[in-house]
Symmetry: C2
Subunit: 349 residues, 2 copies
């Protein structure tokens, strides 16, 4: 386990630089618990090592992605609640490579922070470890950099995921044809996108705090609704990939840019997708932001996922199979659109 | 090329969010130029794809590391000079995995920034692309997150490197024995460590600015000396790995913690290393900081590399071969220590 902490503070600045190591000790066990058999024993902690399993992959392709959590971190800071942010970064990263058919195998984190503190640090790392463990993804390494002059009281969280896929099982979207069904998998909220607009509308325009409980949220507070962790779709995707009854020919992770920008990324040039916005329920937090902010439907579906966190493309006759797999994996899903002839455009009706 | 820019700004905040894409366009060519044949054509930009070359690697092990540049960024900001920071992050990362015998194959970057601006952004990315190109390492992806509420005028830069090595060619240090020679490869300055202490001594205690040219630096300014980019030792390491005349049995990248903390990471339990601090010249910037700060030798060699950026361990009779390889690759090097019986400790005499 090669997670490292570096501090640019010195003892004569009145700071206990052993704090980092002590905090790390508490979470090392959880991190170690994410180990996979392909991991080699650490050597000196310079780089994490992961053996490619050639029994499992004959022509392995590595798929990697790097991402941050964005300003959802500011909501976590307002709530002083840091136990879900780790899930956000891990799950966001996993979805980003799982849509290409890759099995997530290892994750690494970077935390840049002004002042290392408890319980923030352990909560973030525990969330990362738990989210990785759930997806059978190893935490291969990490880096924490304490830089008071740069971050002040803030921090940033970056994640990198690596996954493996057999080359001829890469999912590219190129087989998607007119007539295919678009299956929407439900999101539980904003995931990790649209927080600047959400914060502007809710905090600045409406004057809510994270503790406000507007009627529209049915008992939930603004902070609770905004902090819901990014859904990890890997349990559904892995079942779908293993099924011989389903041709899962394209997947799009609905992040910043919404359906409008993310879906075309996997479409062939000659098709469009028409979505039905009533196919899946829109979580109350979106309705609240849209109503209070006077946000039009096109902007809403471009900034937010509006309740659809992932889209699968399957032959229409396999839609039921896809829905069954989602349901068995514990995901709410619905046919929420259809592929038609066109030119790589998305319509939301 | 899946480098992406996300902005949490919106147009009604008076900011042109197309700036990011326009700036990125200018450097896309340089980034594309780092492509390696193992890279697959991007699919929708979700995750970068890299095929494992099984003709080259029979039992491939992936070695990965994540790191930041730390507060060297603050010196870059004081200088308003951003064309070397990309080299710093790439070269630091490459060294961290090359010491395990891994060939760097792909790199990804994350830039968190308050306000995206030119020429900072292009200069950072161009440095990354150029440094990667020099080491034949592909830029597989990247993420830029613009978050004015979090970073203000600052930014952070994170890099992730992945490399490959044949499992039985991993360099672990376990073969190092008493009698081995320690070869020091010269550094050109602080590389990416010790900047908080350096800034404290030079700027706070001495009142220098980045433009000061104290006599000790022989015509160089403080800023120039501090911003010298991290040396990439891969050209020497790759030659050494390819040589049949050299048993390169251990390598340590001398980063934060200096010789004292980094060398033991690769030593077997039963040996010590005794270094001769006069074997390689100490660059003037270190002498200046140490003298002005009244820093003792133990602290100096624990915070700074003091002129030795990397240490190789080879059988004593192969020391000449090692030095010849370094010299042919353009690196200044010297036998700077010897391995003796002991208990994994480092002495600097």
């Amino acid at each position: 386990m090669s997670t490292e902490v570096k501090s640019d503070l010195y003892k004569d600045a009145g700071v206990d630089i052993d704090l980092a190591q002590n905090l790390l000790k508490r979470v090392k066990e959880k991190i170690s618990d994410t180990r996979r058999p392909e991991m080699l024993a650490p050597i000196g902690g310079f780089g994490g090592m992961f053996r490619i399993d050639l029994k499992k992959y004959k022509n392995p392709v590595l798929v990697s992605s790097i991402d941050g959590v964005g300003t959802k971190l500011m909501v976590a800071m307002m709530m002083e609640k840091y136990d879900t942010i780790g899930y956000d970064i891990v799950n966001h990263c996993i979805n980003d490579i799982a849509v290409q058919g890759a099995e997530p195998v290892f994750f690494m984190d970077y935390i840049g922070i002004g002042k290392l503190r408890s319980p923030l640090y352990e909560q973030v790392l525990e969330g990362i470890a738990d989210a990785c463990k759930t997806a059978n993804c190893a935490v291969l390494g990490g880096e924490t950099a304490e830089m008071p002059g740069m971050y002040g009281n803030d921090f940033d969280l970056v994640g990198v995921i690596s996954g493996l896929v057999e080359e001829d099982r890469l999912i590219t979207g190129e087989k998607i044809k007119a007539g295919y069904a678009a299956i929407g998998l439900a999101s539980n909220g904003l995931h990790t996108n649209g927080y600047s607009l959400a914060r502007k509308v809710l905090f600045k325009q409406c004057g809510y705090t994270v503790h406000s409980t507007p009627e529209e949220l049915r008992g939930e507070s603004i902070g609770e609704a905004l902090l819901k962790p990014h859904t990890c779709y890997w349990p559904a995707i892995s079942r779908a990939l293993a099924s011989e009854k389903l041709d899962l020919d394209g997947m799009a992770h609905i992040t910043g840019g919404g359906l409008y920008d993310n879906v075309p990324r996997v479409l062939p040039e000659d098709v469009d997708v028409v979505f039905d916005k009533n196919a899946l329920p829109v979580p109350p937090i979106f309705k609240l932001i849209v109503a209070k902010g006077g946000i039009g439907p096109v902007e809403a579906y471009r900034v937010f996922n509006m309740g659809i966190g992932m889209v699968w493309f399957v032959p229409a006759e396999q839609a039921k199979t896809a829905l069954k797999i989602c349901s068995e994996a514990g995901f709410k899903a619905a046919v929420c659109g259809k592929v038609v002839s066109g030119k790589r455009q998305v319509t939301v009706l």
